[in-house]
Amino acid sequence: DVKVTQSSRYLVKRTGEKVFLECVQDMDHENMFWYRQDPGLGLRLIYFSYDVKMKEKGDIPEGYSVSREKKERFSLILESASTNQTSMYLCASRPTGGGQPQHFGDGTRLSIL
């Protein structure tokens, strides 16, 4: 079974801090994604990566950056955390080709105080 592991289940940070969310997948998938999930808004794509060192903006990239130095690891960075970035963050991976589904981690619930 594919395993996508997010480093923290819960995280509390203060406004202005630089925050790192880590995600690791064990199935050699080319594509990795970061979403945030808010009540009533569903999953919104922040960034995705289709290869090492490659990244593409999603629908809501403002205030975020990403890093993919190794194929299995995709990091989401909040450069200067703000209260409106309090949310559930979900990482996913999927292989390239065909209609392959995504596999998700269990999420990081991030609170910015």
């Binding site: 009533g40 999603g58 209609g99 589904p101 999420g107």
Partner: protein, 112 residues
């Protein structure tokens, strides 16, 4: 403008009361439609992939069907353990790739 629309937003059923969830989409040349189940505090769990109109997939009490513009997730004789949020996602072209776009989900509660 939403490209993937799910309805209803919320659904309450009695145990054994069958119903259907809807996912409509606006893309030409469908490359794949996915159904996921999400339990509170967990990530979405993959259920089905559908590719072409007329296709059907089944798993226990769930059956997913696909037409040219929408998909249905039929739940037959649901049990309380079927309570969850059900998400639909469709592959949309983005640059040279295809990216899943999600609907907002249907929250299902099944009462014993």
């Amino acid at each position: 403008e939403d490209q993937v629309t799910q309805s209803p937003e919320a659904l309450r059923l009695q145990e054994g009361e069958s119903s259907s969830l809807n996912c409509s989409y606006t893309v030409s040349g469908l490359r794949g439609l996915f159904w996921y189940r999400q339990d509170p505090g967990k990530g979405p769990e993959f259920l089905f992939t559908l590719y072409s109109a007329g296709e059907e997939k089944e798993k226990e009490r769930l059956k997913a069907t696909l037409t040219k513009k929408e998909s249905f997730l039929h739940i037959t004789a649901p049990k309380p353990e079927d309570s969850a949020t059900y998400l639909c996602a469709v592959l949309f072209p983005s640059g040279g790739s295809y990216i899943p776009t999600f609907g907002r989900g249907t929250s299902l509660i099944v009462h014993p």
